[in-house]
């Protein structure tokens, strides 16, 4: 399969993020309940879904590595998990800022959604401790792959926690009947989601290119 060139991806990211910001700040109306502060939602939720997707992609590549013993799949799994952790940091930071303005607290320990996302984030943060505590080679790749596969179980738990939550402080925006919003709010959200996904894929490709250079450098040093 032919890959999209990096400059094209970078340009697409820039255009989409600019368009998303224009829609978020100049077109989408103020939320009737939360007012202006609801505008954090567009990127916060998009980033959260992207983080879940990155962890899912990391697990898929890990499975591919265990199945086909492809060293590139191990690198791809590592990069996807790394992206997931970076987007996870952004979810926690933007979520905390939104929580402060909406609930008056930076963090609420009684909220299942928040705590389970933190557990998921810490689980994947520990992936790097495991990976870098083992010397490079097949053993490290296999251990990392198994760990990434285990972690993906937490993704649906974290995603569904909002529906299992009793207190329902955290808003539920997607139900079985579709999103709880429409019009320009939905349009701004869709564009933001696409923009963040394209940005994440661009960063993934940039980091993967860097990792492949790193492999080449190691080979040259050993030669």
């Amino acid at each position: 399969m032919r890959r999209i060139p990096l400059p094209v991806l970078a340009t697409a990211s820039l255009v989409l993020v600019t368009l998303a910001l224009a829609l978020v700040f100049f077109v989408a109306p103020n939320d009737a309940d939360q007012g202006f502060s609801q505008r954090i939602f567009y990127f916060h939720v998009s980033i959260a879904f992207t983080a879940y997707l990155c962890f899912g992609a990391g697990a898929w590549k890990a499975l591919r590595h265990l199945w086909k013993r492809d060293p590139r799949a191990d690198l791809e799994s590592y990069v996807a998990v790394h992206q997931g952790v970076i987007f996870g940091v952004l979810v926690l930071l933007t979520g905390s800022i939104w929580a402060k303005i909406s609930w008056g607290h930076w963090w609420v320990w009684s909220e299942n959604q928040l705590v389970l996302f933190l557990v998921l984030f810490l689980f994947y943060a520990a992936y790097f401790m495991l990976r870098f505590s083992v010397d490079p080679g097949p053993q490290r790749a296999n251990l990392s792959a198994v760990y990434a596969l285990f972690g993906v179980v937490l993704v649906p738990v974290s995603f569904l926690a909002i529906r299992l939550s009793q207190s329902l402080i955290h808003p539920q925006v997607f139900t079985r009947h579709g999103p709880n919003f429409g019009g320009w709010i939905l349009a701004a959200y869709i564009v933001s989601q696409v923009a963040v996904l394209v940005l994440a894929y661009t960063l993934y490709r940039v980091e993967l290119a860097g990792k492949l250079l790193d492999v080449r450098l190691r080979e040259l040093r050993l030669a």
Partner: protein, 46 residues
């Protein structure tokens, strides 16, 4: 600027800042590795 506007601005600035920092770190790393590769290839060939 209202309090809500300040918090929303802060949230988007955090996203922008983290992404920018990430891109700068990766770019510097890639630049350094490309330099090292060129040097090693020159040593190997010459």
């Amino acid at each position: 600027m209202t309090t809500a506007e300040k918090y929303v601005t802060a949230a988007y600035c955090v996203v922008f800042g983290v992404v920018l920092l990430y891109v700068v770190i990766i770019a510097l790393k890639v630049q350094r590795m490309e330099r090292d590769i060129d040097k090693l290839e020159q040593e190997r060939d010459g």
